[in-house]
Amino acid sequence: MLSEWLFSVYSGIASGLAVFLVAAGLSWVFGILKILNMAHGNFFMVGTYVAYSVVGQRPESLAAFMGASLLAAAVVGLLGFITDKVMLRRLRGADYHYVLMGTFALAMLVEGVVKLIWGVDLTTVNPPPLLDAPVDIGGVMVPRFTLFAIGAGLAVFAALDFALNRTWAGKLMQAVAADPWMAGMMGINVPMLLAVSVTASFALAGFAGGLLLPFQSLSPDIGNSYLLLAFFAVIIGGLGNIRGAFLASVLLGVVQQVSTIAVPNFPGLTVYVALAVFLIWWPNGIFPPAGLK
């Protein structure tokens, strides 16, 4: 029984870090542009399909798998750049209702295009051979790929945190997020930084799509299975705060997976309860928004 509890905590961390991979881009773009991108999950889905088109059902090696994920990041990043030019920059400063409707319409458009290109059939993708076999840890069979997902989540968090807090470009982005007008007055190329942020946010979604391809079945609904939890993580963590999104993703993952043992007759309910509890205690999130932190 103890091993089941421990496994559920482990599984929650893996699941939470998978959610963080999706939430990271969402949080980033909100932190800079104050745009809640409803289409983020759909661009994550595009990333999964791009990677699938490259590696097929059985990736030959870890290198091929990582290469496909990077290609997915590049393709979705490019789509993000185009989306910014065509749509998002027109929504800057608009009422948030228009932003929500606009990005929701974009989500439906992307889903339709994906169905036209790749169809609606379900399929599965294996992890590369190196990550496919289970590992026996203390008598519990742990899928090796979940170890990889944990590592990938931690690496992406560390890289983002370093880039945003320890680099010159990251500090410029923080300045733009805090006060774009003043940043512009100080000579910062605000439009360019905003375009870079959107492109990077979309690229993150694409990268996450490639990395999480073997995590569950592939279908045009795949983005929705992560998007809701990613939104919750962004809200609980504090809108636009990467560290908050990281912490909240892990907490939500653990709550969700532990609840399968603690309250098995109410699957899925505990995540909503957790969201309500967090919002009552921390209505502005664990790290309240004050620019991108």
């Binding site: 089941e4 079945s217 007759n265």
Partner: protein, 416 residues
């Protein structure tokens, strides 16, 4: 009184005048198609099962059109997405009704079907349900305006429970994993009850069918449940969800070798799962809604025609068998119109009550009392294959639905 030449000419002129005046109306009536609303989940986790379901309905319509249509008119299917939700189904129904459509086929999920049903009387519409298996549809939520043209949960999953009890009499520890929904709970309890009825040790405590392990209806991560199953000592598992969750469960189960640990594994959507697993296929049991590869279905003329139509239309030589559910549901309503010689809802309902018609899987009867169809339900053993589509059907068990269907109690809750 003699008929003068003048009167004859006047009469002929009047008749011609009436004919000319009425001609546009007649021409319009002949040119106006009978429109059938096709309401399926074209978004959400059930798409892989509900889209082929709708394609089957469209092929049934095409087959009728090839034979000259109905009532001298062509038939046109008008698709709508019920969005795998009650609200989406209500919006789709009202949208179609606003276009003057009163004949609907769809309801690929119980949630969507149950949300549509209360509107039908007000809209003077008839609905043939293709996919939804919740028991309440033909019991406490029964409405005269709806017909379920497929097995309900009791017949489908109860039948599977019986088939598994007969196939695996030595397996004594079973676990059902079911979505937390009306459909999932019905699937779990009917599977358990029927397995107990058919199992040689069903009456004793030796046969242990554990309380269902509930999962979210659109859950995608089943690792904690799989870990519990790995350590539970159960020998057989029935996974009762459909759509993407089933494939995710099988994929994640394979990643830790659950299928090797269990003696039997069965599920609720059959070849959709097999096709998705591809080269990672492993042996399991599940329904087949149209065993076109196996006799007697293989020799069924309608089955052969449907298969040819599918391959021609969609260039897919391994059609998803769930397509036959939509085909049957569309056939039922079209046969109702043909028998009623009208598209009026009351006339079509009266014509469909007790209706018998042929389908690719053999004869089907619509029970008058509760509008539940009764035919044959099939279960297949799916196994890996080295050639595309990387699975094959090893054997099929056919069960006469008369032997598993419950007695009709429309308006009352189903009690096992």
């Amino acid at each position: 009184m003699g008929l003068s030449r003048r009167k004859l000419l006047q009469g002929a002129a009047a008749a011609a005048g009436v004919g000319i005046a009425g001609a546009p109306r007649l021409l319009l009536a002949q040119g106006e198609p009978i429109r059938i609303g096709l309401m399926f989940s074209l978004s959400g986790p059930y798409v892989p099962a509900s889209e082929p379901n709708m394609k089957g309905a469209q092929l049934a319509i095409a087959a009728y059109n090839r034979r000259g249509g109905l009532l001298g008119r062509k038939i046109e299917g008008v698709p709508r997405d019920d969005k795998f939700s009650g609200a989406g189904a209500v919006a789709a129904t009202r949208d179609l009704a606003g276009m003057g459509i009163n004949l609907f086929v769809g309801g690929s999920s119980s949630t969507a079907a149950l949300a549509t049903m209360p509107l039908l009387k007000e809209l003077k519409a008839v609905f043939t349900i293709a996919g939804a298996a919740a028991m309440s549809i033909t019991h406490e939520s029964f409405t005269r305006n709806a017909f379920r043209v497929q097995a309900n949960a009791n017949m489908q999953y109860g039948g599977l429970g019986r088939a598994m009890a007969i196939q695996f009499p030595n397996i004594l520890k079973w676990q059902v994993v079911a979505p937390d929904s009306a459909f999932g709970r019905d699937a779990a309890r009917t599977f358990a009850a029927n397995m107990r009825l058919a199992h040689p040790k069903g009456a004793s405590k030796e046969l242990e069918i554990r309380d269902p392990m509930l999962v979210g209806a659109s859950q995608s991560d089943f690792r904690p449940q799989i870990n519990q199953l790995m350590n539970s000592g159960v020998e057989g598992v029935f996974f009762a969800a459909v759509g993407a969750p089933t494939v995710s469960f099988f994929q994640q189960a394979r990643s830790v070798g659950l299928e090797k640990k269990l003696k039997a594994i069965c599920e609720g959507q059959g070849d959709v799962t097999a096709k998705a697993l591809g080269r990672d296929m492993f042996t399991y049991w599940g329904p087949t809604f149209w065993p076109y590869q196996i006799e007697p279905t293989k020799s069924n003329k309608l089955s052969q025609e449907f298969y040819k139509d599918w391959v021609d239309a969609y260039k897919d030589s391994s059609p998803p068998t769930v397509g036959c559910i939509g085909y049957r549901a569309a056939t039922a309503i079209l046969e109702g119109v043909k028998r009623a010689k009208s598209t009026d809802a009351e006339a079509v309902i009266a014509a469909m009550e007790g209706l018998q018609f042929d389908s690719p899987t053999g004869p089907v009867r619509l029970r008058k009392e509760d509008h539940q169809s009764i035919g044959t339900v099939f279960f297949a053993q799916y196994a890996p294959s080295s050639t595309e589509p990387f699975y094959e059907i090893k054997s099929v068990k056919a069960i006469d639905e008369n032997t598993v269907v419950e007695r009709p109690t429309p308006g009352s809750e189903y009690v096992i």
